[in-house]
C-alpha cells in the first residue's frame, strides 16, 4: 500500500500548498487608501489599461453604442474594443412607435 499512501500524501501536500497560497493572498491586507486618495484628487473614472482608443481608455465615459465611433454597428477596429460589452450608461432615450388608426 506504499504507493497509495505516497500518492495520497503527495496530493494532500499539493492541495495544502495551493490552498495556503490562496489563503495567504486573500488574507494579505492591501491598503487601497493611497489609490483612493489618487482617484479622489485627480477625479479618475477609469483604469489606464487600454490606451489604444478613447472609448477603450475610458469605457465608463465613452458612448459605447458606436463601436469604432464612425457609425453604429461598424466593425470593431481595436482588439480590446471587442472585450468591452456595449453597455452604454447614463442614457435613457427610447424608440417609440405610434401606430396610426387604419394602418
Amino acid at each position: 500500500m506504499t504507493r497509495g499512501v505516497a500518492y495520497l500524501a503527495f496530493i494532500l501536500t499539493l492541495a495544502i500548498l495551493t490552498a495556503s497560497l490562496m489563503a495567504a493572498g486573500a488574507a494579505k491586507s492591501v491598503d487601497v487608501s493611497e489609490k483612493q486618495q489618487l482617484v479622489k484628487a485627480l477625479g479618475i473614472t477609469d483604469l489606464s489599461l487600454f490606451s489604444e482608443a478613447r472609448y477603450t481608455r475610458h469605457p465608463s465615459q465613452a458612448d459605447l453604442f458606436a463601436p469604432f465611433q464612425d457609425f453604429p454597428g461598424a466593425l470593431e477596429h481595436f482588439p480590446t474594443g471587442s472585450m468591452i460589452p456595449p453597455n452604454p450608461i447614463g442614457f435613457s432615450s427610447r424608440i417609440r412607435i405610434q401606430q396610426l388608426p387604419g394602418n
Partner: protein, 385 residues
C-alpha cells in the same frame, strides 16, 4: 478504508503501466485547467482592483451629448446643478487626449485646479504653476524623462509648449496613472484652446450618497442634453468588463473548454483494447462489476484531481507571480502604453468550485461509463475482442 486503499494501490499500478499515456493526459488536462483558471484569477483580480480603487471616483460625472456624441459642456450648467438640494459641489473638468505619432502612444492629459495635499503615490509634487506637469510611470518609461526634465508637447495650434516635470507617479499606481499627464486646469485649457465657457465634463459631489440616483434623474430632467454617469455605473462597467463570461476572456475560456471537451470525448467514445482486456481478465478471475467500477472511479479521480490541483497551482503562479504573460497580450491590444502591474491575489472560491465541478465530474463520468459498459459484458467475449 483498507479496501479502498488497496483499490487505489491497484489503480496506481495500472496507471503506471501506461505511464507515458497517462502522464501526457495529466499534462494536457492540467494545461486546460490552468488556462481556465488564469482567466478566472486575472479577471477577478482586475475586478477587485478596479472596484476597490474607484469607490472614490466622482459621485456624478455630467457630460453633454450632442448628435449622440460626447460634446464639451457649457460651464453655465454649473449654476443650474448647484441650485439642486443635496449637491455639495460642482467642478468643471478639463481633460483630453494627446497622440504621439512617433511611438504611436495615446496620452491622457488631465487638468487639476486646486489640490494641495501630498499624494502618497506621487514622487515629487503636483503641478502648481502654468509651465509644470506630473506624469505617469508609463510616460516616463516610454519617453525617458525624470523629475526636473522638460516635457515638450505641441498644442492645438502646432506651437511647442514646454512643461517642467515636477512629479512622476509611482509604479503602484500604474493601473490608474500609467498614461497620465497632469497639468494645471488653466494651462490645459490654453493648451487645448478651450473656451472659458466650456469644460470637458462636470463633476458633482453629493452630501448624501443615497441621493446620487435621484439627483442624476433631476439633472437629466433639467438638462435633457446631458448624460449623468453615477459612481455605481462606473464600478458596474468594470464589473461587467472583467466578468469572465464576457468579451475576449470568454473566447479564451471557450477555447479551453472545447479542448477539454475533446479530451473528455476521446475518453468517452471508448476505451482501448488493452483496457477492455484488462477489465475482462479482472472479471474472469472473480472481480465484481462494482470492484471494476471502483478501480475506474479511482483512475478518473487520480487523473482529474491531480490535473485540477496542478492546473490551479500553475494558474495562480502564472497570474500572481509572473503577472499573466499568457493573457496580457489579449488585454493589451494595440495599446503602446500598457501598464506593468502587480495584481493583489484575489480568488473567488465560488468560481473555483464551479471550475472543479465542470471539469472533474464530467471526466469521472467519461471514465466510468465506458468501463461499466465493458464490465457488464461477458468476460470471454471481451477478452476475445
Amino acid at each position: 478504508m483498507v479496501r479502498q486503499l488497496k483499490t487505489l494501490e491497484y489503480t496506481l499500478s495500472s496507471l503506471m503501466r501506461r505511464k507515458s499515456k497517462n502522464l501526457s493526459l495529466v499534462v494536457v488536462y492540467a494545461f486546460t485547467i490552468a488556462t481556465l483558471g488564469s482567466v478566472l484569477f486575472l479577471t477577478h483580480a482586475l475586478k477587485v482592483e478596479a472596484t476597490s480603487s474607484l469607490t472614490e471616483a466622482p459621485a456624478l460625472t455630467i457630460q453633454k451629448i450632442s448628435a449622440g456624441r460626447h460634446e464639451l459642456i457649457p460651464t453655465d450648467h454649473v449654476a443650474t446643478i448647484e441650485k439642486l438640494p443635496g449637491v455639495k459641489s460642482v467642478t468643471p473638468r478639463v481633460w483630453g487626449y494627446y497622440y504621439d505619432s512617433l511611438i504611436k502612444a495615446n496620452l491622457t492629459l488631465s487638468g487639476i485646479s486646486s489640490y494641495r495635499e501630498k499624494l502618497e503615490l506621487l514622487n515629487g509634487r503636483l503641478p502648481l504653476g502654468p509651465g509644470e506637469c506630473a506624469i505617469g510611470k508609463g510616460v516616463a518609461q516610454a519617453f525617458g524623462p525624470a523629475i526636473g526634465d522638460n516635457l515638450v508637447l505641441e498644442d492645438s495650434g502646432k506651437e511647442t509648449t514646454t512643461f517642467k516635470i515636477t512629479g512622476v507617479f509611482q509604479a503602484e499606481s500604474n493601473l490608474l496613472t500609467n498614461d497620465l499627464v497632469v497639468l494645471q486646469e488653466a494651462t490645459l485649457r490654453d493648451f487645448f484652446s478651450m473656451d472659458q465657457s466650456l469644460a470637458t465634463d462636470l463633476i458633482v459631489e453629493i452630501h448624501n450618497q443615497r441621493e446620487i440616483k435621484v439627483l442624476a434623474k433631476k439633472i437629466k430632467y433639467l438638462l435633457p442634453d446631458t448624460r449623468p454617469i453615477t459612481r455605481d455605473e462606473i464600478i458596474h462597467t468594470y464589473d461587467s468588463l472583467f466578468n469572465w463570461r464576457s468579451g475576449m476572456m470568454l473566447a479564451v475560456a471557450i477555447a479551453a473548454l472545447i479542448a477539454f471537451c475533446i479530451l473528455a470525448w476521446d475518453k468517452a467514445t471508448g476505451i482501448s483494447a488493452t483496457e477492455k482486456q484488462e477489465i475482462g481478465i479482472l472479471k474472469a478471475i472473480g472481480w465484481e462489476t462494482a470492484d471494476v467500477l471502483s478501480v475506474k472511479f479511482w483512475e478518473g479521480l487520480v487523473i482529474s484531481l491531480t490535473s485540477f490541483i496542478l492546473g490551479t497551482l500553475a494558474a495562480w503562479v502564472h497570474v500572481f507571480i509572473f503577472d499573466a504573460p499568457g493573457l496580457i497580450p489579449l488585454l493589451k491590444g494595440w495599446s503602446v502604453l500598457f501598464p506593468k502591474f502587480q495584481l493583489t491575489p484575489a480568488v473567488d472560491f465560488y468560481q473555483l468550485f464551479v471550475l472543479a465541478f465542470l471539469t472533474i465530474v464530467p471526466y469521472l463520468g467519461c471514465t466510468i461509463i465506458p468501463a461499466w459498459k465493458t464490465a457488464v459484458t461477458d468476460p470471454e467475449h471481451v477478452m476475445r475482442g
